[in-house]
Every structure is written in C-alpha cells, then in structure tokens.
Symmetry: C2
Subunit: 321 residues, 2 copies
DNA sequence: CTGAAAGCGCTTACAG
DNA sequence: CTGAAAGCGCTTACAG
C-alpha cells in the first residue's frame, strides 16, 4: 500500500522505474481511481472550496459578472486539484445551507447582495464556519478577520465614464441605479459624482425600480418628463445602459446626437447593439482566477498575504457617447 | 455518539424531546459541523456530482445556455444535500481531469463539444469511470449504457422559425451556422430544412467561421454579395441572430422590411436590440433542474427511468421578422 | 438511551 | 521496497 500511495501521489523518487511501471500497469488494469474523500479525511482537509452566490433569483448566473468570476475561480482550482462546490441561494435560506451546516470545504468564496446590514449578517454566518473567506465586489467588514476582499475599481469606472461624457460636452448627466443598490454600484455613483463636481457638471441620480429593462425605461421616462432630456444617460451597468439606448431609440432620439449613453462592465452583448455601447471592461474572470489563487495560497501558508485586491478597469469606447 | 449521529441525521423518533434538545444545545455551543467527507466515506458515497463542460475557451460559461443549465442543476442538487463540482476543460486536457482520475463524485453531467467522433471519444472516457452520466444537448451513443440524454427539441425550433418566416412571405431563407457545428445546431438546421421543403421554400446554409459577431457578419456579407439579399436571415442562435440584425442595420437595410431576422434560445439580451429579436425560448434552466433530479433518482433507485428527455420549445415573437 | 467496536479507503511512521 | 499498524470522523449493529 505504501508504494501504491507513493506512485499515486507522485513520490516517484522513492522507487525504481520498474516498480513504478508495475504499479502503473496494475492501476490501468484495475481501472483504479483513488478515493479522494478517504485521502482528504486522512489529511484533515476537504479538497474543495465553496462558492456561495446569495441572490433572490434562481437564475443566479444570469449576470455575466457572476459567471465570469465563477469561470475564473473554477479554472484555477480545477488546475490545482481542488474542487469548487457552487451554490446559489436566497438570503432567507442561507442559515440552512449545506455548505455552512456541514464541514465540507476548506474555504469559501462569497458574492453577497442586499443592504449593508443584510450583507453584514451574511458575513457573520460565513465567518462562524471558521473558514478563510474571499469576498467579491464588496469590502470586508472589520469583524471579518481571515478574509480577502476582491473588487474592481468601480469608483474609477464611474469617473472614467463621467469625465469622458463631460469632455464631449455633456453638462447634465443622469445616472441610472437600481433601488436595491449594491456596493459596486454605489462606488460607480460616487466616482461619477466626484468627476462631475470636479468639472462643474451636474449629476442627477435616477433610481429605477430594478435593473430590469422595463423598470429602467419607466424610470427614465419619468425623469425626462420631470427634468427634460439630459445630455447623457449613464447606465449603472450594461443592462441599464442598453435599456437607455433602446428607450432613446423607441422615442426617436438620436444616440449620441440627442443624448449620450454609456454602460458598465462591457460584457459580450454590448457589441450587439447599435451604436455600440461605450462601457467599462470588467476584469471579472481575472478576479475569479486571482481569488482562487489567493485562497489556495492562504490554505497552504496559513494567512492571506493581503486584505484587499483592487483590479483596474479601462474604458471601452463604443459609438453611443 | 450514536445519539448525536441520530440527531444530526434527523432520526428524532429514537429519543426523547429532552435528549434531542440537550444534543442540539451542545451542537450550538460547540459550533459543531459534522464532517461530510467522513460520513460519505462510511456510507460509500461521494455526496457530489460533477459537471464537466468541454470547451476550448476558459470562459466556458459565456453561453447563457450553459450557465442556465448549470444554475438548474446546482439549485436542484443543493436543495437535496448534494454538492456540484464544476469544471470547464479543453478537450485535450480531459484525460488528466481530476474528476476522472480520482473517485470523488457519484455521477457526472456532461456538456461536450466538437465533432461526433471527438464527442464519442469523450463519452468513452467518462463511461470508464463507471458512473451514471447525464448528457446535455446531445444524443447518447449506443455504447453509453448507464446514461440519460437531455435535449431541447431543436428540430422543432428550426421548424417553428422557418414556418413563421414562410407564412410571413419569405421564400428564400438563409440559415447561419458556425463551421464547427454541434448536434443542437444540426437539428435546428434539419428542422428548418424540413419546413422549407414542405412549403416549397428555399433554404440556403451560410457557414460562418465561428459564431462570433465578426465571423458571422463576414459570412453574411459574402453570401449576399454572391446570392443577393435573402428574404430572411436565421441565426443559428441569438448571438448570430443579433449579428445579422446589426449587419443589416449597418448597411441600412430595414428589418424586417428588407430582410427578416430570427435567433434561437431567447436569452436576456434579445430584449435589448431593436427591433426585438424573434427567437425560441429555451428551457435550459428546467433541463438542468430535471437533469439533477433524474441523476439523484438514478443514484437512489439503481437505474435511469428513461434513456432520453426531450424538452419542448416555443417561439417568442419579437419585431424582427 | 449509552457505550464499545468495526469498518469505510486512504496516509504515513516504522520495522524488516 | 513491503507489510503491519494507527488514525482521520463518521455510521450502525449490538449489548447493556
């Protein structure tokens, strides 16, 4: 058994070539696949990481940001012999989550949602598992000790978009945000506001019932009725930007002639609208990959090397601004 | 230990209310979380299912079909105490896959790609693990015994789209398909061809370098140069449909006035183009959910109740046809 | 209801 | 290089 274990785990220097090949032949012949659970039990590890996406919708992967982060984490972990257990869950059901009630992962990756208070309550529950945690797209509250927060620079994203619009002559900007906002969205808003203030431009915030197309367009219509057409409509994300674009087209406003429009995060579908949506390129996939890497490093070295990672963003010009 | 095990596993009838509460209190106090791996080892089960997406791109979740199926599987399994281990992998790397080399799952869900020969080679490797397998969006070859194939009715999808276009007066249809096709795409093509033949209409197949927007638009341009503008451009999926839509718009062709356009699968972004893309609603999420359910049923009952499931599709009218 | 024991399939220190 | 043994944390049949 010792030698087989040594072969399976690649400690090949402990035996002769002939022995190695004999064992390998037997493995092939028997179609032997080592039981990963037994190995993990013996080594007091779990061999897997949990990804928990807290979302009220069962389609928790609908947002490309989420699925890109997932792909990044998954690829890194799979390449390093770790499993990724994926769960999407409504906030109310988190307490019953298998990943929290049973000990089956070495660490957790979290994408939370809801108000700050709600997210803090979630993080406390996750912390109670005693596992190291990577939080995506949110800051780690002070009480989260064994934690790494990974975000993209959404403040800069807001600034880049607002500055570009102002440079092109816009003086009154309207930023579309969902009623139920989230930290990244708030950062974009703060960034856009900072840029507007710096350049003496005006930034209105238009609160939409949700980020869905119908709610977004309704909110735009009401805002324009009240305040007139702004120089620019900034979608809080690509979906809201595209909603603004089609709203303008449905009313026969020229984009960018009558009103400029932008999005944020730059996922695939911005190339499918006309004019192409000016947006921000999100490093979501890379964030996921780094999150996986940092978590495995934490597991092997005992602590996270840093408390936060902030990923740079860049502007992707389309024709809509 | 016996009583604690009975509490943890919900065999509450074996003890008094007082005992139950004493154990529960101790669990809370100690923040005890049972080790899932040890339980699985004792019960000779793995407690998890693997999802393998064979894709040459690291962004293996970019297609909404894939991420919707994943969400469906994940939600069903999580709700039933099973884990889902997600891996995206290039075909060339499949042989080294952890999910194949180690014994860590009770069953596999597969989304393959490539030619029929390549997919057969993949399925043989998966079969060698001895696990029950659910194949999505492809038929199960004869040699796959312990297998369930789950597909949507793509033949009907092709028929529905072609028939609708013909009813609206189209006589020459052009179907856009990627050079590297796949079974679902071939089914759509067969369905569209059957409908065209039945109604005496003409269906040309336009092979595009890939399903990417640039390749699709290039292929359309070449086809139109050679054969003139068809009455309708049928995208093999929504992405290709949207590519056709923007191609027409960039050339100042009216849609549907000069040329009708359709997509297939009906994911979110078809609402963000103008006119809205007429498409087919894919039951991808439901397929994933049923796949998870059928796999767990297979695990508890010893065999799949059926060899195939075919999900119905419906047409979603937009303004593009 | 509790306690003692066996065993799931591994890893690893140790003796030969 | 091989063999025997302990132990990872559970479940479960059995005795008390």
């Amino acid at each position: 058994m010792t030698t087989v274990s040594n072969v399976v785990n690649g400690r090949l220097e402990l035996m002769s070539e002939a022995t190695r090949e004999r064992v390998a032949a037997a493995i092939r012949e028997l179609n032997y696949r080592p039981n990963a659970g037994a190995r993990n039990l013996r080594l007091s590890q779990r061999g897997a990481v949990g990804l928990i996406v807290v979302d009220e919708s069962p389609r928790f992967l609908a947002d490309p940001m989420t699925s890109n982060i997932l792909a990044g984490i998954s690829n890194y972990l799979s390449g390093n012999g770790y499993g990724l257990l994926v769960t999407g869950i409504r906030r109310a059901a988190v307490a019953d989550l298998h990943l929290l009630r049973r000990d089956q992962t070495d660490g957790l990756c979290i994408m939370a949602s809801g108000t700050q208070q709600e997210r803090r309550a979630l993080y406390r529950q996750f912390k109670d598992t005693g596992q190291p945690i990577v939080i995506f797209q949110d800051e780690a509250p002070d009480f989260m000790t064994d934690t790494l927060s990974i975000r993209q620079d959404d403040h800069k994203a807001g600034e880049l978009l607002a500055e570009r619009l102002i440079q092109r002559g816009a003086r009154r900007l309207a930023l579309l945000v969902p009623a139920q906002s989230w930290p990244a969205m708030a950062e974009r808003q703060a960034g856009a506001l900072a840029a507007a203030t710096r350049h003496g431009a005006k930034l209105d915030t238009v609160t939409c019932g949700s980020e869905e197309i119908a709610d977004t367009q309704l909110a735009i219509a009401r805002y324009v009725e009240r305040s007139g057409l702004p120089d620019a409509l900034l979608g809080g994300n690509d979906q809201m930007g595209c909603a603004a674009l089609t709203w303008a087209q449905d009313r026969n406003f020229a984009v960018p002639g009558d009103v400029r429009v932008t999005g944020c995060n730059g996922f695939a579908f911005i190339d499918y609208v006309r004019p192409r949506l000016t947006s921000i390129a999100s490093p979501a996939y890379e964030m996921g990959k780094q999150g996986g890497a940092m978590l495995l490093q934490r597991l092997s070295e005992g602590r996270f090397k840093q408390r936060e990672m902030l990923f740079d963003v860049t502007l992707v010009p389309g024709g809509s601004d």
